[in-house]
Symmetry: C2
Subunit: 212 residues, 2 copies
DNA sequence: TATCGCCTTCTACATCTGTAGAAGGAGTGG
DNA sequence: CCACTCCTTCTACAGATGTAGAAGGCGATA
């Protein structure tokens, strides 16, 4: 099983997923998209489930590589990023997000499709731990900044940032927000992210703790 | 075309969509779910596209009804809600969100599936203006609270709140956050929403404006 | 009551999809 | 040169799916 063949197939599958949706993800569609003869995908992934699992695994791998390339340690063992200059941190995060929405648009859309799929296929959830590394980073950042409940605040922060991305890709933001890949998009995102960082790092996020 | 029959079919379709995903949404599956004889859905919605459009329309209708029942004016002509007591406003919003994730879970999941679908079917986007009313409300609230760029801040706010919901339904929050429908869930959501309201209403969200 | 129109239900069928296995071919070791 | 193995490609086929139209039933109207 040549590894480049597998990568080509799973990458094609990710594109198909992004462009045709979960419904369009078929063995034959992946063959066509990859420019490989019919039957190839079926030979490598005998069942559809294995195909989807391969996609999910590949998404996780690509995300990990992405994080490392962006300078953030994926294992979160070393807290490199601090909140000394919130605006520059926000700008960095905004740049990553903007790439997710432009260059890596298909990958991001495919990930959302898989997240939705994991809702009724729990076995995907163990692989698709999207954002786990980001979450760990966020926790460390917020803890270092003095947040009183960094775990909770980190979860909220990452969920909100994800919401910004989803909104621009699939929600109303697709109409209203500046188009991805532009400086305006990054600026708008940076404003939102900076606001979030300040909010969740500051004392206002510690007003109360859930009582139950 | 009896209206109750149509409603039964589209409601069943929403359930199918939430439980089986876009791939499982077939005429026959809707028949089965609705407990109606095979061929019924096919008779009412000759093509699959009309079925999906009916689902999207129904989702929009249900959302509108939901907002009105919740006391928020759907047309946003009258700004009833102010930010005088942020915590109580946040608690109210949290209650609505928690209902979306428990009682109305299927509907919410179906909406996300349709949003993703609208990515490659633009004609759905005109119908599925999810959150438009909420956005208008948010703008008014933030403007009344003195935000400098209420339009932008409102968009960010609604996107973030949606992110909180999506995270709990399909993301990591499904594992980490307190289960929907409980007081703990509402409390946790209320903390996050209050933080967001304070952040986007306050001056910190007005640090800069996109330059382009 | 007979006829008509409409709503419902059933059936047909071409196409698509998932999955398995056969056929072909290139490289390797004897 | 032959046999063997593995990878690739092709073909088969059962079942699902989208869609159209026929058959059946039921109330209204003359």
């Amino acid at each position: 099983m040549p590894i480049d063949r597998l990568a080509a197939l799973t990458d094609a599958a990710i594109d198909v997923l992004a462009e045709l949706g979960m419904r369009g993800l078929t063995h034959r569609a992946v063959d066509a998209r990859a420019g490989l003869p019919q039957g190839t995908t079926s030979a490598y992934f005998r069942t559809r489930k294995t195909l989807i699992e391969a996609v999910v695994r590949r998404l996780a791998d690509l995300d990990r590589a992405d994080l490392q390339a962006g300078g953030l340690p994926a294992d979160a063992a070393s807290p490199t990023v601090t909140l000394d200059d919130i605006d520059s941190v926000a700008a960095g995060i905004a740049a990553v997000l903007d790439r997710w929405m432009s260059t890596a648009r298909n990958r991001t859309l495919a990930r959302y499709a898989c997240l939705l799929e994991a809702t009724h296929h729990p076995e995907l959830r163990t692989i698709l731990r999207h954002g786990d590394a980001s979450r760990a980073q966020a926790r460390l950042m917020l803890a270092a900044a003095g947040a009183r409940h960094p775990e909770q605040a980190g979860n909220h922060l990452v969920a909100c940032i994800d919401g910004l991305v989803f909104d621009r890709l699939a929600g109303a933001g697709a109409r209203t927000a500046p188009p991805a890949g532009t400086a305006a998009s990054r600026a708008d995102l940076a404003i939102a992210v900076a606001t979030l960082l300040r909010a969740f790092a500051g004392p206002s996020s510690n007003a109360r703790q859930p009582t139950a």
